[in-house]
Structure formats: C-alpha cells, structure tokens
Symmetry: C2
Subunit: 222 residues, 2 copies
C-alpha cells in the first residue's frame, strides 16, 4: 500500500519526482504504549499517525505537565519537525498513549517540499492553524472555566476515547493532563465520589453517572 | 512610496501581475488611540502596521480580557483575515493603543496570492508560528508563574514601550492585560507600593525602583 498517498491530502498535488522523493524517504515506526515519541530539542520529522493515539503536552521548568491535544489516526505531529519553521520558539513533548503505528517524513525532506509546493505550504498552514485553535480552546478553558467542569469534561472524553466507563488513570495522570496538582485532583475526585458521580479504586476510576458528568462537561464547551 | 514593497518581505518574490494586484488592492487606514480595529466575526483582511501600536486580545464569555500580544511597526495582524484559513477556529480582538497607521490587504486578495505563491504561503506559516509561539509563552506564564512576577514584567514592558516611568493605566486596564481581576491587581499593586517599588496615583502608576522590578520580571523570562 502506498501509505503517504492514503494519509497525506496534498500527495496528489505533488509532481512525479516529489512523489518519488517522499515515498522513498518515509520511515515506518511502531511505538509501544508509553514510548516517548518526541521531546523538546530534537527535530527528526513529521509524524503521521496511521493507527493508535499520541498525547502532545507541554512541560514547565518545574516539571508540571499539561496535555495540549491528542493525535489520532490520520493526524500529523508538526512540532516534531519544529526546526523547519524559524518562527516557532516553543517546544512540546509527545508520547504514545496506546500501541501506535506511524510513519515519519524526515524534516529536511518536508522542508524542501514546503519550499517547492504551494499545496504542501498551505497544508502546513492549516495544520498550524488547527493546532493553534486547539491550544486557544485550552487557554480559554484554563482562564475561564472551573476545575470541576474541566475534570468532568476530561473524564467523559477519556471514557469516549477508550470506549469504557472504567478508566485506568492515577490522580497524578489526571493532574498532568489538566495542568493541575495531584492533591487538587484528589480532592475534586473525592467530591465527585461523594456525589455518586464516580467510584474510586487504586489506579482506577469508574464513571457511575455519565449523564450528570456530561451535563457538567457541556458547560466547558460553551 | 511603494508601501507594500517596503513592508512585505515576500513582495519581491511575486511576479509582475501579482505585484500590480497587491498594490492596487491595499487600502491605507488611520486608527485613533482606542479604536477597535478588529472584533471576532469580521474578516476584512490582513492589517500591516506602518506606525503605532495594536493590542491583540482574547475575550471570555464573561467579558474577561487578556492581552495575547502587541503588534508594532512592520508587524502583521493575520487574525483579522482568519477566514482565509479553514483550520482556524478561534477569534481575537484588536484595538489601537496609540495613534496607528496601517494598510489593509483584503482577505480575498491575500487568499489568492497564498494559493498561487509558495513565498506568500510560507511567509504566512512563519507569521502563524510566531504568533503561536507568543501565545505558548503566555500560556506557560499563566500556568507556571506567579502574579507578582507577571505584574512586574508587565510594568517594565509598558515602561519600555512608552519610554517613561509614569504609566497612565487603571487597575482595570492591567487586569485586562493579565487576564486577572481588578481587585487582585489592586492588592498586588498596594503590596508593590508598600515595598517602595511603585507610587500609586489616580489612573497613574510611577515606577520607583526599576532595578528590583526588572529583577523580578527576569524570573518571568526564565
């Protein structure tokens, strides 16, 4: 199967030589759950997810994490090739949340395609705009929404991503997604448990009242 | 003077027809201090600042403001033409902080240049990447830095922008820049005044100890 043709919307706008260069340059990769896919400094290339799930997150000087967005099948991680864009002055990290298959387009190859092809350049624009929008949404959440709403939204999203009402997450994991602290999450989860919304176990949270959690989460989407 | 040639780095990479189209499409504008230049819904075009200063900010449902970044001479406001990028799903507002001169490239004209010219498309990529970086810096500030550090950094930046140690700002103005509340800013400013860092007057803040404020602000740049 010609994977780049299937996963890259701009593929058919490339000329014959550009298609050949791209096909011979891509490298298939498999990542196990938990593998670090990208960390700050390196710039190996664009990662195109063919199956699985990648979490992209930021890390503060003090080691506090916050999830910026998730990449699912057909999504592309641009920031693992941040060196191709001189204006980009921040770093993110990425790891595999499930078993993940992907292919990598080396940064140098993508950079020369972007310099030659207006289709690739404009596709990159849209990728950037889309990730920027994800981060602005999160920004608004953090500035303006309360933690109970954000926690409910996160639990519902996790439940949908994993197609299960039982989530295997520690309080520390959740704090790292939401840019909060473990103690704060524990307190809020205990409150949710007391309200009958969830049941807490070791490394496990069971959603008991999905309807109420969804209603709370809707406030975070307004 | 051929203003687009002076202010647009991609101008010399356009062909003759594209240059003519651009030159005949741009419109000169003057904005008075405080004028609203862009608000959410509209999409008139890219604003290129030839002199003055524009503040770009986000607004929550509850009306809380936060300054995202400032545009100075030669900077370009891309989000006033957000309709040209389908991936962009957020809105910002912009107003003139000083008397400002600018020219506008209509959205439809820029969009067709972007579709034809790889130089314009990649220039747009760098603009987006640069604004994205500004917002990620702010994001990190909000998540990880304390308000005293952010307030000191803001006062120093204002003092440098206006080339004066006397700032004509209300506590409400500052809250709107920092995404905080007036009461919180007032409390912190009173603390600064008690420490001899600033002197407070009606609608006016005088910086008394620029060195200590700068040292505090440096923490916010780490």
């Amino acid at each position: 199967m010609n994977t780049p043709a299937v996963f890259l919307p701009f593929f058919n706008k490339l000329n014959g030589r550009q298609k050949d260069v791209l096909i011979s340059a891509v490298q298939n990769r498999h990542f196990a759950r938990g593998d670090v896919i990208h960390h700050g400094g390196n710039c190996e290339g664009l990662i195109v997810v063919t199956s699985g799930r990648i979490r992209v997150y930021a890390l503060s000087d003090e080691g506090k994490e916050i999830t910026l967005y998730r990449l699912l099948e057909r999504d592309i991680c641009l920031f693992s090739a941040s060196c191709i864009m001189p204006g980009l002055r921040f770093e993110v990290l990425a790891n595999a949340e499930t078993e993940t298959d992907a292919f990598i387009i080396p940064a140098s190859v993508y950079k020369s395609l972007m310099a030659e092809s207006v289709a690739v350049a404009n596709y990159t624009n849209n990728l950037l705009a889309s990730r920027f929008s994800d981060v602005m949404w999160l920004f608004d959440q953090i500035l303006n929404k309360k933690l109970d709403t954000r926690l409910a939204a996160f639990l519902i999203e996790e439940s949908q991503l994993n197609d299960s009402n039982v989530l295997y997450l520690t309080h520390e994991d959740i704090a790292n997604h939401l840019g909060s602290m473990r103690e704060v999450i524990t307190r809020m989860l205990k409150y949710f448990a007391a309200e009958g919304l969830v049941k807490l176990g070791r490394g496990r949270i069971t959603l008991l009242n999905v309807q109420t959690l969804s209603d709370m989460a809707k406030d975070s989407l307004k």
